[in-house]
Subunit: 152 residues, 2 copies
DNA sequence: CTCCGACTTGAAGCTCACTTCAACTCAAGG
DNA sequence: CCTTGAGTTGAAGTGAGCTTCAAGTCGGAG
C-alpha cells in the first residue's frame, strides 16, 4: 500500500477527480504503470507532478504549457528538489507579472471609483499609456484579451 | 454620426468584435435600438456598459454575474457616475481577494523554491492552514478549484 | 468461489465565451 | 440605379478542461 497508488488513492491524496487524472495522463502530464489486470498504479512521485499541475493552473498556465514544463524534467532519473525548484521559479515570474497587472487594474479602478467615470474619454483603464490619440474623439479599448473566469 | 453608433463603430471604439457584441446583447449585457431596416444602433451610454463588461472580465467575473450587476443599474434613468462607482467597488473587493490569494501562492511558492520541496508532506502549498491532519500519513490537496487559463 | 466496489475504455456531453458560416438585406457613394 | 461594404439571422463550430455514461473487468474480503 505504500509502493504505489491506485487511481482512487491518488485522487483522494491529490484532491483531483479520477476522471481528471486519466485526462492528465492522456495529455502526458502524469504517467502510470499497469497491473496485470490493466489497472493504473502510480508511483508516489506522481503525487508531486499532480501537485505541480494544480499549482501551475492557479498561476494561470495552460495544461499544454504545463506539459512542456514537465517534459523538461529529466526522464532518466527521479527529479531532484532542484529540478522542481527550477520549474517553480519560472512560474514565479509569471505570477509576479500577473499580480502586477491585477494591482494596476485595481489602482485604475480605484481612480475610476473616485471620479465615477468609466468614461472612455480620459480614463486610464481604457486609455492605457495614452496610446490612442488619433482617429477622432473617443478612445478605443486596447485592453488585452480578458482573463478567463475563475472557477471558485 | 454622434447620436448613436452602428455595431461596427461600437466595435471599433470598444475593441470588442461585432460577433461578441451581438453575443453580449443576447445575454442581456447591452441593448440596442433598431433602425427601420433592422440594424442595431447603440446609444453612447452602451460604450460604458461594454467597458464595464471588459473590466469585469479582467477582474475574473463571469458574464452571467456581470449581467446581474448591470441589472442592478437603474433602468429608468441614465446611470450616474455614482451608480457606476458602486458597481466598481463591488469588483474591487474581489480583485483585492484575488491579489491576496496570488500573493500567498507566490510566497508559498518562494518557500518551496527555497526548500525545493513541493513535498505534499509539510509544504504549505498543499497543506494550507494545516487543515488535514488525520487519515494517515500524506496530505491531501485541498486547493480551491484552479483558476482557468488566462488568454493572453 | 462469490460478491461488490473500484477499476477499465472510448465516445459523447458540458460550460464558457465566443467565432464562423451561409444566405440574405441595408445604406450610402457614384 | 448599381455596386459594395456593413449589417442581419440562426445554427454550428471552437477550445479548454473536464465529467458522464455504458458496458465491461479486476481484486480483495468473506
Amino acid at each position: 500500500m505504500h509502493e504505489s497508488l491506485t487511481i482512487g488513492q491518488l485522487s483522494a491524496r491529490s484532491g483531483v477527480a479520477p476522471s481528471a487524472l486519466r485526462y492528465y495522463e492522456r495529455l502526458g502530464l502524469i504517467r502510470a504503470e499497469r497491473t496485470g489486470g490493466n489497472q493504473r498504479r502510480y508511483a508516489r512521485t506522481e503525487l508531486r507532478r499532480v501537485a505541480f499541475v494544480r499549482i501551475s493552473q492557479q498561476v494561470g498556465v495552460s495544461l499544454e504549457e504545463i506539459r512542456e514544463a514537465l517534459d523538461s524534467l529529466p526522464s532518466s532519473r527521479t527529479p531532484t528538489p532542484d529540478d522542481w525548484a527550477a520549474l517553480s521559479r519560472a512560474w514565479r515570474d509569471r505570477l509576479d507579472e500577473k499580480i502586477r497587472l491585477l494591482g494596476k487594474l485595481r489602482d485604475d479602478l480605484d481612480g475610476c471609483i473616485g471620479c465615477g467615470c468609466l468614461s472612455l474619454q480620459r480614463c486610464t483603464l481604457y486609455n492605457p499609456e495614452d496610446s490612442l490619440a488619433a482617429e477622432g474623439p473617443g478612445a478605443r479599448l486596447v485592453l488585452p484579451r480578458p482573463e478567463a473566469v475563475t472557477r471558485s
